[in-house]
Symmetry: C2
Subunit: 320 residues, 2 copies
Amino acid sequence: METKITTPRLLDGIAIAAGIKTEVAAEVRSLGLQGVTPGLAVILVGNVAASEIYVRSKVKTCGELGIYSEMLTPPDSITTDEMLELIAKLNDRNDIDGILIQLPLPSHVDTRRLLEAVDPSKDVDGFHPINAGRLLAEGYSGSTSSKSGKLALAPCTPAGIMEILRRSDIEIAGKNAVVLGRSDIVGKPAASMLINASATVTVCHSRTKDLAKYTREADILVAAIGRPGFVTAEMVKPGATLIDVGINRVTDAAEVEGFFPGNEARAALFAKRGSVVVGDIHPAAFAISGAYTPVPGGVGALTIAMLMQNTVTAAKARRG
Amino acid sequence: METKITTPRLLDGIAIAAGIKTEVAAEVRSLGLQGVTPGLAVILVGNVAASEIYVRSKVKTCGELGIYSEMLTPPDSITTDEMLELIAKLNDRNDIDGILIQLPLPSHVDTRRLLEAVDPSKDVDGFHPINAGRLLAEGYSGSTSSKSGKLALAPCTPAGIMEILRRSDIEIAGKNAVVLGRSDIVGKPAASMLINASATVTVCHSRTKDLAKYTREADILVAAIGRPGFVTAEMVKPGATLIDVGINRVTDAAEVEGFFPGNEARAALFAKRGSVVVGDIHPAAFAISGAYTPVPGGVGALTIAMLMQNTVTAAKARRG
């Protein structure tokens, strides 16, 4: 008997995102022939530097794909009621298919209430509970089947995970999938989608005992816990598919060397910036995997592409 | 070292249901002092014998607990539009806190659309996707914490499971819970609630490979697949808590003897009725469990009590 040693396959989020964007651009052109231009409104409250960068890059991508976009920038002092009015106006406008409220919002506004005020059919972030419920019940807008034909807009990060798996021909049905983390925007919806794709799904979290017992059995492991390099090589099954959702900034030189021993490119990056970005999965675990999403350039690279796809899906459902 | 042999604890659904009903009756009296009488409307379409029995028993329990109830019995020929009108009227009435559409409906009406037409705050069956989404996000109305204070009405069967576990002081947090079945009304919401109660949760289903590998590790095993005696003693961990949601009618004499060897009471019941009811878990598995819900007299006995509790919860949220 021969032991088969294979090189882990890098699941290139940037390339997959590019493919999705190309498809979305084609759909936008086709909608254009019917006189429909999908429209996205982004609400950016106050002056949070990171949020501004994200929003600018979303607006820029809209432009590239032919999606109309509008950026609303109310001041930090805006009240919940004023926000509700803003959202109501966007809900009423026929030219706006998607409404995105960039988070985090100032602490004096009621974020949950605002997210629930967005018309679910325009909820391109997939944060409305009715979309979470539909997602759990019947899969998401990108899936091929739907029990009711009702639109379930999925949150962008887990939707991106499913696109990576599907476009990389990684079998899901009948596989053992383990999700680390139970957040409302990643862990839980990822579990919902994997269950509907017929994986056997285990949701682990901070209260899980003997975590490695679960992770070592995973054919597909999704890590979304926000702890740098938490999943070590000893915790994964050789040949598994590793999906790393973590984006953690590491500023300690010894830690960086631990994650990337002898990696000159990372060392140089660290020397230049004083930090590097590391996922929740240790690079040594990637080395024994069958396939993995790198950080950066993996799941994170899909987010904006999925937002664009959701916007077009919403436009088609509303006006197509 | 001594091996501790304990007798499995029978989790008595009938007794637990009686306790819940007593509490609900007290709440109804307390609401009465504020001039509020909780009201439940039950829609029973056509003449399905089993449905009539269920509805009658729901209406009867309302009477016992002081809940106002109303039974609407449109003919089998009712259209989706006419049903929508009926539901809209009930949504508008302030004296009606809960609306229950008894299923199944005739095939010519759009069941999904009707269930989504029920005001989520009156959705005492917990079938509206917004309640499924809230349940996944933040737990259910019976739980002690809620992120938003928004009402999440949980489907009655999984809510009953949680009541059995909690009222029997069975620890959930940090335990390994395995749910067999991924239906929208039992498996998925049970998983949602167990995740929020901090169990590590695995959802298994027809596509799961090597099912026994999962079930044998379960501290809490919930079986909701509708296959008589499917979970055998070899498939469970000795001392586990077994929650049996199955209600399967067995009509074969040899099969009955296989489930209940030498059990004279069951044999007599079978001789009299030509069938007995068996859960999804084999009685031999109960024998090695730490605790289990019998069939009948387990989870099924909670359903109506939970419906009553949901009706009062809805009344308090709307008018309390």
